[in-house]
């Protein structure tokens, strides 16, 4: 069946097997290799992408449900001026190890920063926001520290408001 949707700002029209998951279409057909399969059961979050601005497990979304919607993967986040700040926080906090989980974490980080409405940042909030992304290398401490730092970053809020290159 034909599905039409936006990926990282680009309109795509694909003829797909309806049984395919969004993950398969993104990783295999569109070669967006940041989208990783870790479990295929929505438990690990390695396949996390933005679906209309919200983070979802692409392994649990039938690809046809993307029709008419907007998908952003890590590849697409790089087009946003705020990405370098996110990247630097992860780098400086030493939050990168094997990194198979990492693109999922970065997408969930962006979703959290973008969608969170609370006035103050606390660690529990950050942890809750990232609980759907499993990591086995880092023990999470450095990732949570990096995201806590980012949540306090005033400039990012501006960059979301003014320079977010996508509709949602």
């Amino acid at each position: 069946m034909i599905v039409s949707f936006k990926v990282n700002g680009r309109q795509v029209d694909l003829d797909i097997d309806p049984r395919k998951r969004l993950l398969d279409v993104l990783h295999d057909d569109l070669q967006l290799i940041s989208v990783k399969e870790g479990c295929g059961e929505g438990e690990c979050g390695a396949c996390t992408v933005l679906f209309d601005g919200q983070n979802v497990n692409s392994c649990l979304v039938p690809a046809f449900q993307a029709d008419g919607h907007e998908i952003v993967t890590l590849e697409g986040l790089k087009k946003w001026p705020g990405f370098s700040t996110i990247e630097r926080a992860y780098l400086e906090h030493g939050a990168v190890q094997c990194a198979y989980c990492l693109s999922g974490f970065v997408v969930s980080t962006v979703a959290y920063l973008k969608n969170q409405t609370e006035q103050t940042v606390n660690e529990d909030q950050v942890k809750y926001a990232l609980a759907g992304n499993l990591c086995r290398c880092t023990g999470y401490t450095k990732i949570v520290e990096a995201v806590k730092d980012l949540a306090e970053h005033e400039k990012l809020k501006e960059l979301f408001a003014e320079d977010w290159p996508y509709e949602r």
């Binding site: 870790g38 438990e43 780098l91 030493g94 990194a99 198979y100 999470y140």
Partner: protein, 765 residues
Amino acid sequence: MKPNPKDFRVDALSKLRGEARYIRDERILGLWHGLTVRSPHPRARIISIDFDDAFKWQNVTVVTAQDVPNNYVAMIEKDMPVLAEKIVNYVGEPVALIAAPSPELAMEAREHLHVQYKPLPFIDDPLQAEQSDIKLYGSNNVFKEIRIERGDLDEAEKTADKVVELEVRTGFQEHVYLEPQGMIAIPENDRIVVKGSLQCPYYVKNALNEIFKGLRDITVVHATTGGAFGGKEDFPSLLAAHAALLAYKSGHPVAIFYDRREDIQFTTKRHPSVSKNKVYVDAEGKLVGLDIEFYLDSGAYVTLSPVVLARAALTISGCYYIPNVRIVAKAVATNTVPSGAFRGFGGPQAIFTMEMIMEELAQKLKMDAHRVREINLIDEGQTTATGQVLKYSVSNKQTFYDVLERSNYQQKLNKYRQWNEPILERLKQGRYPKRHPDDVLKGIGLSVFLHGAGFTGGGENRIKGKLRIEINDNGQPVIYSAQTEMGQGQQTAFRKILADALAVDIEQILLADVNTDLVPNSGPTVASRSTMVVGSLITDIGREMIKKFLEELKQEYGFPFEYRTGYFYGGDMVLPFRQVAQKHAGLIFEKEYRHPPFIKFDEQNWKGDAYPVYSWAAAVAETEVDPITFNIKVTRYYTTHEIGKAINYDQSIAQIQGGSLQGIGYAIYEKLERQNGHLNVHGFVDYIIPTTVDMPFMDIKILENPYPFGPFGAKGLGELPLVGAAPAVVSSLRMIFSLPINKIPVMPEDLFELAQILRKNGGQP
């Protein structure tokens, strides 16, 4: 801890940008997809393999045992077949392989392939293996037996004031690398190239060389690897063999990518252990004798079990001085998926056992848990159970005292005991336990642990790791080693070691891709050996390189030069390293590792220097137990690690954080059991690892006590953090309940049962 900008990981940016290519990200034209047909029985005779006519078999390739040139996976022994031929020995044992142009077609073919089995009786209890009439290995199903003896236990019995006996058990553990196993094999004329997610390229190459002896040459290429933890040490040899056989027979490149279900059920696990322990102490609580019978449940085939067993046996008494010891350790066969390498490699089981012995002693002697440990700690100049005199970099007491002080252990212990008393009293009386809504039981516990760096015994002298460094056309040294990056930071560490040895920037140093056609066999990336053993070759070559260049400069200019901070100074000349090196483009330096000659180990009698040196650590865990649900939360985790020298301080902390949480998972989250020969978990839904919300606050300190034969004094680090986390957590739970807990994982259901005991007996066990 502020990260030092110089130590940023060299692989971080490509990973953060999603550009690093893992094996599933490879694009290979005409790639076929392979899958594995597996045994549904723990043990059975294969009657027949039938192909039904409803399927067009010419469109796919099927491989069975008949197609395997030499049907064994060469590891320590050759007992494990690549594909089962007559008998299957565990649920999930590979029986046949199918490859097709698409995964869907391969799956369809599997529906039409029918294997007939005759189920046979099987062994599912490691303690029954020796006596069983079923013979899986030799005459008694014992893959390996080790006896370590020192002193005289009769003497211990005579002088002992008290004898304490207990049984200790540890469970399976799954690695849960986030990237499931995956391998691609590409046929090329007289060669098969295998590329995949793996730790030890030369293990795979050697295994495949034996299978394809005289038929094909083998090249093994390492792909970016998404975590391993030992799970990609031994297992990839089997998986690579499967992919290579399908590629060999079909003539197409073939990928086998496990999904999580397949990975979690049918790849190696940490060995479960059972031990019967008897310990003798004098009136003050000093250990005078230790008598241990220790079993590792090794599954259906030998794999690496003999060496896992050796490390367990050699680690078990490690942190304490004990004059009389008998350790009888056995790796036994059961009809279960083979147990294999896993971070710690027998160490976690051994340390848990010994630490529970100390806990039991404390309880029986009515001493504090830290006090009974304190008076028995081994120190420099004392001898271990194998008679090894601890000479270098011994920090057992330093880590112990440091972690107690930093965590404010003593004060909290007293405070929490008082705090818990009324809650426990109410539980004993069967009353509602809380005084206010957020009342919880508070525990604090500790553990003392060590890990021998590098291979056990003479292993390093057998493998003779070789390293090569070449100067490229730009004057940059390129390190050629078989060491692999799997997340632990090896690439950064190696470049930093050579950069520091040469006093140049890390950007000046390059690392060759890990491909067995290019790199020498510097040994596997295991056993906390890469930094210490291979790293020492890097610093040695670094020194040699400078020496060589100084000689060449003297030759060329006729006066002596001196090397300081990246520059050669001679006369009024100042030449940067790179300028000098560029003149020697193509120059090759090679070195082979040998242990310092005074290290001696007798492998027949298990006497001598089991490891060249040990890394030391101690930990304090604080827990909260909900008195209603008995849910356990580790709230704070303190640990002090002494690792000689931290090559990359920030990433050393990261290793300790990650390893500690993996150990906490081992203690209270990760439950995997065998039921009727089947493992009872199928994925991340039922194998529970900690999430961000479950992680404790971690307070980590690294002490440095340089080991003279490691690079800049470094010893091993990778495994140590996991080794001692579980006993610290369980120690804190024992502190709360003052009742024996001698097995992991500990579940809320177990603590619930303890509370029932408290209630029934008014607190008496």
